[in-house]
């Protein structure tokens, strides 16, 4: 691809972000550990009965994974802001929304995809029936990008702040309620033997909407916070 074009800029950004993540690959383990610990705490609180745990398994895993990826959202623009490259992105002649979409994609691939990979392990810990597991994985694959996209808008709004952790949670969680309802709802329906495609289709529709709108909104939000 010719240097200087938008495509080349996106590729360069993708390669840079992947390299940076690889250099600090230890950090990527933190959300995984967090999710495993949260899920492991539930049997201690509720008792080890298989029926009880299987009943709440899908919802618990969903909440644990959403919280874990929320924790890592804070890091989306942090290092770029500190070394000044975020301002260069804003000043670059390429569409900011596209560049941000690349960053969000890399963030999802490096922090949230590993969470989905360990989801079967978490499902075993809580005795989730094996028939529900594929539905859980599909629901997670649709719901977690949504969190990354909507979360990116909120991160862009809070980017200049020193301690944004609690505030970010307050901003993101009300917006993400439907993802939890549809995602965990599909798993619960599958577990009860009911049809589960409708909530998954809703999740997919919302994801498509967010894929188009969220990078544009994140770009606008970032321009507000960096003025």
């Amino acid at each position: 691809m010719k240097p200087g074009t938008t495509g080349a800029a996106c590729l360069a950004l993708l390669r840079r972000d992947l390299t940076l993540t690889w250099r600090r690959r230890g950090d990527a383990l933190n959300p995984l550990l967090f999710a495993i610990i949260v899920v492991a705490l539930f049997p201690f609180a509720l008792g080890p009965e298989q029926a009880t745990l299987a009943h709440i398994a899908a919802g618990t895993i969903f909440v644990a994974l959403l919280l874990a990826s929320l924790l890592s959202l804070d890091m989306l623009f942090r290092s770029d802001l500190e070394d000044g490259s975020l301002e260069q992105l804003v000043l670059s002649p390429h569409p900011l929304s596209l560049l941000l979409a690349c960053k969000i994609a890399i963030h999802w691939l490096t922090t949230t995809l590993p969470l989905i990979v360990i989801a079967p392990l978490l499902a075993q810990l809580l005795y989730l029936p094996n028939t529900v597991l594929p539905v859980l994985l599909i629901a997670l694959a649709l719901a977690t990008p949504l969190l990354s996209l909507i979360g990116a808008v909120c991160v862009a709004l809070t980017v200049g702040m020193r301690r944004s952790g609690m505030l970010l949670t307050l901003l993101v969680l009300p917006l993400i309620v439907p993802a939890l309802i549809f995602g965990a709802g599909a798993c619960n329906a599958a577990q009860a033997g009911l049809p589960f495609t409708a909530p998954l289709l809703w999740l997919g529709a919302w994801l498509v909407l967010a894929l188009v709108m969220a990078p544009l909104a994140a770009a606008a939000a970032l321009k507000i916070s960096l003025t």
């Binding site: 809070t158 439907p178 709802g185």
Partner: protein
């Protein structure tokens, strides 16, 4: 220039708005107080007790107007946020941010009165009913806007960021509302239907509408008072504020 357009431009100027709002403010308070008193008299004394719920239904005279206001104020805040972001009108930023705490208060009152009414009627303080849940999410959205606004130091940047969040919330609110509806109907039907189905008696209805009017007027009064204070703070370095502070300190203190 077109006189209406001219008036609109003048309204956007902080000193003009400050004076105009100061002139309207006492009248708005009086109207809100009088219509509120009439509405409460009609609702608590004149209206007959409900044949099923007895006197406990009377809490709707607080609950329902506040619930309507919680949505109306959010729409007002988002509309002003949109104007502030697109046309960069300073006054709209101030109005949007001044309405956020009022809206949060209305939402909070809605939740509390709903819970007080739910205890004798449904037998529980809280139920995960679709409407209650969306109202709770709305309260968190308000808290997010207020939290973001107070977390950023630069006032104008804070207002723009919070206004943007309010707009994101507007796009998301219908999705939240319908998803919560869907979630609720999947699990269980509504235990007791609210007043929607049963036609309301006219003797019960007019105090409700009067109170809805009174809460609207009260909202605008409170909004004007809050935005006057916010304008003074925002423009504290400007000439007109300094002139104001020098000329009539006692009178302004009484108004503020």
């Amino acid at each position: 220039m077109n006189p209406l357009l001219l008036w609109f431009h003048k309204l956007g100027s902080p000193p003009y708005f400050y004076r105009l709002a100061g002139r309207f403010l006492p009248w708005l308070y009086v109207v809100a107080l009088v219509t509120g008193a009439i509405g409460f008299y009609g609702g608590l004394v004149v209206a007959p007790a409900d044949y099923q719920q007895g006197d406990s239904f009377r809490i709707i005279y607080v609950h329902v107007p506040c619930a309507w206001m919680s949505l109306f104020v959010y729409a007002f805040m988002a509309a002003n946020g949109f104007i502030a972001l697109v046309w960069r009108i300073k006054l709209s930023e101030v109005l949007a941010m001044a309405s956020a705490p009022i809206g949060a208060a209305f939402t909070f009152i809605t939740l509390v009165t709903g819970s007080v009414w739910g205890k004798p009627t449904w037998g529980t303080w809280w139920t995960w009913d679709a409407r209650l849940t969306s109202e709770l999410v709305l309260l968190f959205l308000y808290f997010g806007v207020i939290g973001l606004h107070s977390a950023i130091e630069d006032t104008r940047q804070a207002a723009r960021a919070a206004a943007f969040l309010a707009l994101v919330g507007v796009v998301n609110l219908p999705i939240v509302h319908y998803s919560v509806n869907w979630w609720n109907t999947l699990h269980q039907a509504q235990t007791v239907s609210l007043m929607g189905q049963s036609k309301m008696d006219a003797r019960m209805l007019w105090p409700l509408l009067t109170l809805a009017f009174a809460t609207h007027v009260y909202f605008f009064a409170s909004l004007l008072a809050r935005s006057r204070a916010a304008l003074l703070e925002l423009e504290s370095g400007k000439e007109w504020v300094r002139a104001l502070a020098k000329s009539t300190p006692t009178q302004e203190a009484a108004h503020g």
